[in-house]
Amino acid sequence: MNVKTEAAPQKATPTVGLLVTCLVDVFRPQVGFAAVRLLEDAGCRVAVPETQTCCGQPAFNSGARADAKAIAKQVVETFEGFDYVVGPSGSCISTLRCHYPELLADEAEWRQRAEAFAGRCHELMRFLTDVMGVERVTAQYAARATYHDSCSGLRELGIRHQPRNLLASVQGLALRELEDSDACCGFGGTFCVKYPEISERMVSDKVAGIQAVDAEVLLGGDLGCLLNIGGRLRRLGSPVRVFHAAEVLADMTDGPAIGEPEK
């Protein structure tokens, strides 16, 4: 999708409204804190609007257009005042960037607001690399890791080299490529529970790929994918540990990985 991006920040300390995402909020707050640390380290002033709930993607993708529109307007109002809106999720941000303008296209005033808004929305790692110019982080994490590209991040937002570039600077991290890093993991929102057997086949193929590169750690930029793949890995008794890439970049890998018991 080609939504015009704003030029590199003119302000010394841009304001960022953090779109936590509903999955991070409930399942993995660590990712939210990792995002805050990374954004502040890059020189941003981060705020977390309290009235945020959901980006509306579940409604949008299931055809509940009226609900999706209402939620979209709410999100635009909540986050409009910031220089940037950043979230640790390709699928949520692609909803804001790529689909809000089309969703709100039939109301002239909202269409313009949504188009202006869309250009300021960014996935976390792409924001750090392409907008804030971050080239390296000072994290350490010794592990053989592999990376799963989430479909919306990859195909709707063009995120591929940005996470890899940042992860390459993590001391001790050996990143190896999955043969099918861009194959869908079978999450697909409600798809994974509406068509569980097909989803199981897709996630099993993904797990086989992870095992084939002998990775100890799986990383990715979308929690939905990571819960899905991580859940399958655990069910199969695999020792592979799963983190959101932001956690590794923010040097926050001391705690339990996704699905692991609290210490």
């Binding site: 009235t51 709930t53 709410q74 479909c151 195909r155 999450f187 569980p196 193929d205 819960l227 655990r234």
Partner: protein, 474 residues
């Protein structure tokens, strides 16, 4: 062809457990994907040609009446006849009438997806014509009495063993009783059997990859040569083609041809690309004496003003099928009708109605690979979403999930209530899940936990932690 899309879930389940099918699909998938990639990488102008091809199609669709009329007058000027059909029934009636008038009984067929769509084989069979498929893949599934499972490779779901079985069961009447088991011997036996059938054919029916308005020609893109024999040997040649196949000029077709082979099978060009115009000329030594084109609408004209208009750009290459992880897991028959994969999930509800086909647009992760590889950049995921919107508006296929999603949206529009619910949810489940870190089973989550653990939520949501942190920092 009977629509079996309502049984999608059972079909998919059966397909996932069908070892022979899974073996066949695994063999096919890598081949198509790799070959396409190599072919596309080998043509630096690929994306530029795509842009032009889309322009050509859009221009044609925007003047479709003009080009259809021009096409018709050129067919007539070259000695052929055009029959217009609004519905499958009309199309079959037209074909049957031509065949009756022609006075033959033995019909040979090249592959035609629109022929499947209108159910021409059943109609001809009911009218007591003998119909033989000549494309090897179509011949195989005709013997098996199955529909095609792929729009380019109709028998892709069959293993070599299964084909050997079929030939052994059916070729006895030709005096061929030995079981052929190698690819070469299988193909050779088919060649032998079909040769006589070609020569005895009285009426030939083919599809068309393109119709050229400027010249009244139909274009057939094949590798086997059966389409050409079907078009040349019998006394009568009938083309079944849908209205959006028309393009203005030979040059326009040439542009799109550069995308078709590469996208479908990774070929720069097929063994045979044939342009047929009218019946044989007065002094020709071979060729049909009669040339008929049956132009099929079947709802396509209705799409022009809708959000599905771009589906009319489709050139039936099958790239979307080949790259779809759902198609790759379940094969084509699970979709229940003529067109499988992403393009089938868009077309089938449009052609046969959404009520019994709603699983098709729903069984998709919207991953977008199909749109990426589509030579005509058709926004397939957007169209599948549009189907979901229509289903939602009509109350089709929601079920329990629909109720759950409505509840979710209701909460999402009410931040304070949402906050309360989210905080309570994470606290409740987080406490229960903290020891194990994940749930092996959970009420209402059976579909997830059947094959996956569910990582436990955090005991304290991000929002609550953030609020505390802000309060502490003050």
């Amino acid at each position: 062809m009977k629509v079996r899309s309502a049984a999608f879930k059972e079909n998919a389940r059966a397909a996932l457990g069908d070892e022979a099918l899974q073996a066949a699909l695994a063999k096919a998938k890598g081949g198509f994907v790799d070959k396409r990639r190599i072919a596309v990488e080998g043509l630096p102008e690929f994306d530029a040609i795509r842009d032009v091809a889309i322009e050509i199609k859009e221009h044609t669709l925007s003047h479709l009446d003009y080009y259809l009329e021009q096409y018709e007058s050129q067919v007539i000027a070259s000695g052929g006849q055009v029959h217009w059909a609004r519905t499958p029934k009309e199309a079959c009636e037209a074909v049957v009438a031509i065949c009756r008038q022609a006075g033959g009984r033995r019909i040979i067929k090249g592959k035609s997806m629109v022929g499947e769509e209108i159910g021409i084989n059943e109609a001809l069979g009911a009218a007591e014509f003998e119909v033989m498929e000549t494309d090897l893949g179509e011949y195989i599934i005709q013997l098996a009495e199955e529909p095609p499972s792929h729009i380019i490779a109709p028998a892709v779901h069959k293993t070599r063993d299964q084909i050997s079985d079929l030939f052994q069961a059916h070729h006895g009447k030709y005096g061929l009783t030995e079981r052929v088991t190698e690819v070469a011997t299988i193909v050779n036996e088919a060649r032998q059997v079909l040769r006589d059938i070609f020569i005895a054919g009285e009426i030939g029916i083919t599809g068309a990859n393109f119709l050229i308005a400027d010249t009244g020609s139909n274009v057939l893109v094949t590798n086997e040569g059966n389409g050409d024999l079907t078009s040349t040997l019998p006394r009568v040649h009938i083309v079944t083609a849908s209205i959006e196949k028309v393009v203005p000029t030979l040059e326009d077709a040439t542009t799109i041809l550069r995308l078709l082979g590469r996208s479908a099978t990774g070929q720069e060009i097929t063994s045979y690309t044939t342009f047929s115009t009218g019946p044989r000329r007065a002094e020709d030594l071979d060729g049909p004496e009669e040339y008929h084109v049956v132009l099929v609408d079947n709802g396509r004209s209705e799409l022009l003003a809708t959000e599905y208009r771009h589906m009319l750009r489709c050139i039936r290459c099958g790239a979307c099928l080949n790259h779809c992880p759902v198609y790759g897991a379940i094969g084509g028959h699970a979709y229940g009708w003529v067109y499988p994969g992403p393009m089938g999930s868009v077309l089938t509800p449009l052609m046969v109605g959404l009520t019994d086909t709603v699983d098709l647009p729903n069984a998709c992760t919207l991953n977008g690979r199909c749109r990426d590889v589509c030579p005509m950049r058709i926004p397939l995921p957007d169209m599948l979403r549009a189907h979901r919107e229509r289903a939602h508006a009509q109350g089709i296929g929601g079920g329990l999930f629909g109720i759950g999603l409505s509840l979710w949206a209701w909460l999402a529009k009410r931040p304070s209530l949402y906050r309360l619910a989210a905080d309570r949810f994470s606290a409740f489940l987080g406490a229960r899940g903290r020891k194990a870190g994940a749930f092996r089973s959970l009420p209402f989550a059976g579909a997830w936990t059947a094959s996956r653990d569910l990582p436990a939520p955090a005991r304290v949501s991000f929002a609550r932690q953030w609020r505390r942190r802000q309060a502490e920092n003050k």
